[in-house]
């Protein structure tokens, strides 16, 4: 094999991913969609991560409030706390943090699972059992992530508001009605819609990179660990890149 420069290497990696993505996309619409496996995967992906994402959201809300309270008080703007926490969590911090956590939890487990199936010839066994592994394993996992990660994010966002309320109430005595009134009325569709679309894209990239790494690392048991590791790294990078692109697009569409 010819030695490749790092730049060429990442170009080749992106090309491989693009090829894998189009084969995923083609297989969504093939007949014989694996509904059972889709529901099973959605359940696994959602259920396994609900604890950690809820906790993260809750603590994020508390911390955001506690961190900004002293500064805002100094300017006599403590009453802005609910709106500030709400906007920053829902627009940016919630989706990105939850996606990064899911990259660590879900992308790695998909990568490891598929890679070990590959190494132990289970994927070959599926092929000779009349199944299409892309359809059965990849399509279902990616779609399950695309559905479950937005739901997990919405749930975590809600918990962040609850956390924010508790922290604010303990430090300045705001009523629950007033807090949530302020937190929710500040939001309009330009905050919510782009953030929601973003989480779907994060979900797709988590599922996709997990599957891609699982299918790429297929030599010996050592590759199972590599697949998990590299799935986390690559999907985190994609999350950051997608975030940047979506913010830029949103700004240029909505505010110019």
């Amino acid at each position: 094999m010819q030695k490749q420069l790092p730049f060429t290497k990442s170009l080749v990696a992106v090309a491989d991913q693009a090829y894998f993505f189009q084969s995923f996309f083609r297989n969504i619409f093939k007949k014989g969609f694996e509904w059972d496996e889709l529901f099973r995967q959605s359940y696994i992906i959602g259920y396994k991560s609900i604890g950690i994402t809820t906790l993260t959201g809750f603590i994020l809300g508390i911390v955001m409030t506690l961190q900004s309270l002293p500064t805002l008080k100094e300017f006599g703007a403590a009453s802005y706390i609910p709106s500030m926490v709400s906007v920053s969590i829902i627009r940016e911090i919630g989706p990105v943090i939850i996606a990064l956590i899911c990259a660590g939890k879900i992308a790695s487990s998909i990568g490891a699972e598929l890679s070990s199936m590959n190494v132990t010839e289970q994927i070959d066994a599926m092929k000779v059992s009349g199944a299409n592994p892309i359809q059965f394993l990849v399509v279902t996992r990616i779609l399950a992530c695309a559905v479950m990660i937005p739901l997990l994010t919405i749930f975590a966002d809600a918990m962040a508001l609850v956390g924010g309320y508790i922290a604010a109430a303990m430090n300045g005595g705001i009523t629950m009605t007033l807090y949530f009134h302020k937190a929710l009325t500040i939001l309009d569709y330009t905050d919510v819609v782009p953030a929601f679309i973003k989480t779907i894209l994060f979900g797709i990239s988590i599922g996709f990179i997990g599957c891609f790494k699982g299918f790429t690392y297929n030599n010996g048991t050592a590759s199972v660990g590599l697949a998990a590791n590299s799935a986390v790294v690559t999907s985190s990078i994609w999350i950051i890149i997608i975030d940047g692109i979506v913010v830029q697009l949103t700004n240029s569409i909505l505010y110019t």
């Binding site: 199936m117 132990t120 010839e121 289970q122 066994a125 092929k127 000779v128 059992s129 009349g130």
Partner: protein, 242 residues
């Protein structure tokens, strides 16, 4: 007799290392062909090519008259429904129970929907391999030999026309080996299945083989019935049977 597998001058290498260096093999319908050979000589690679899991570099490989490497994805999938493959490592689906492992090919290859029929097929095939009471276990709870038999059950449940066995009796005790070999023979007789059997187990070969081939360094060096090769003039060939 109808020819079901026809391999001509098949070559396959991984990187710079040539593994298959010109394999020729013709298998007729209903025939049991046994392949013997040293470890690493390319036996598994040969049958993986037959199932379309690996693609040859050169040569022609026809199954049911169709050139495997020219088939489209869906055509290959349809053809594979007629082929059963027992993996050397059994390749059970770790995340599914024994029952779900069996249902997987049943639903996809034979498209059976009736639950009662599915259940009776599962029990029938598990009884044949002596695993009837393991139906609700996970593969990780099975012993090595049980996994092998379970892999065999999953291969046989769809009654494929061609069965590719990769070391079906390795890791089994002598008595179970004999039972499995007899089961393979029975399947050949009952369903006129065509089989390619890779084995190191001489009793298995003597029970099942209509014809034996010996592979060495990527080519077949001898061919004949089990008795012929066992009593060959050539010391090297005879040494496989000791």
């Amino acid at each position: 007799m109808e020819v079901v597998i026809e391999i001509k001058n098949l070559k396959k290498s991984f990187g710079d290392i040539g593994i298959l260096k010109g394999i020729n093999l013709t298998v007729k319908k209903g025939e049991n062909v046994v392949i013997l050979g040293k470890s690493g000589s390319g036996k598994s690679v040969t049958i993986k090519c037959i199932a379309g899991l690996l693609t040859q570099d050169e040569g022609s490989l026809k199954v049911f008259g169709e050139e495997i490497k020219d088939l489209k994805e869906d055509e290959l999938k349809a053809l594979r429904c007629r082929i059963g493959f027992l993996f050397q490592s059994a390749a059970l689906y770790d995340s599914m129970t024994v029952r779900d492992n069996l249902i997987f090919p049943l639903k996809r290859v034979l498209k059976i929907k009736d639950n009662a029929l599915i259940e009776s097929r599962c029990i029938e095939v598990l009884e044949a391999v002596g695993l009837a009471d393991a139906i609700d276990k996970m593969p990780s709870d099975l012993s090595g030999g049980m996994r092998k038999r379970m892999g065999l059950a999953r291969t046989l449940i769809v009654k494929p026309e061609i069965i590719l066995y990769d070391e079906p009796t390795t890791g089994l005790d002598t008595i179970t080996s004999k039972e499995i070999s007899n089961l393979m023979l029975q399947i050949q007789k009952k369903y006129q299945a065509t089989s390619v059997i890779i084995t190191h187990d001489i009793p298995c070969s003597s029970i099942t083989a209509d014809r034996v081939l010996i592979i060495d360094d990527g080519v077949f060096i001898a061919e004949g019935t089990h008795e012929e090769l066992e009593n060959s003039q050539d010391d090297y060939i005879r040494s496989f049977f000791k």
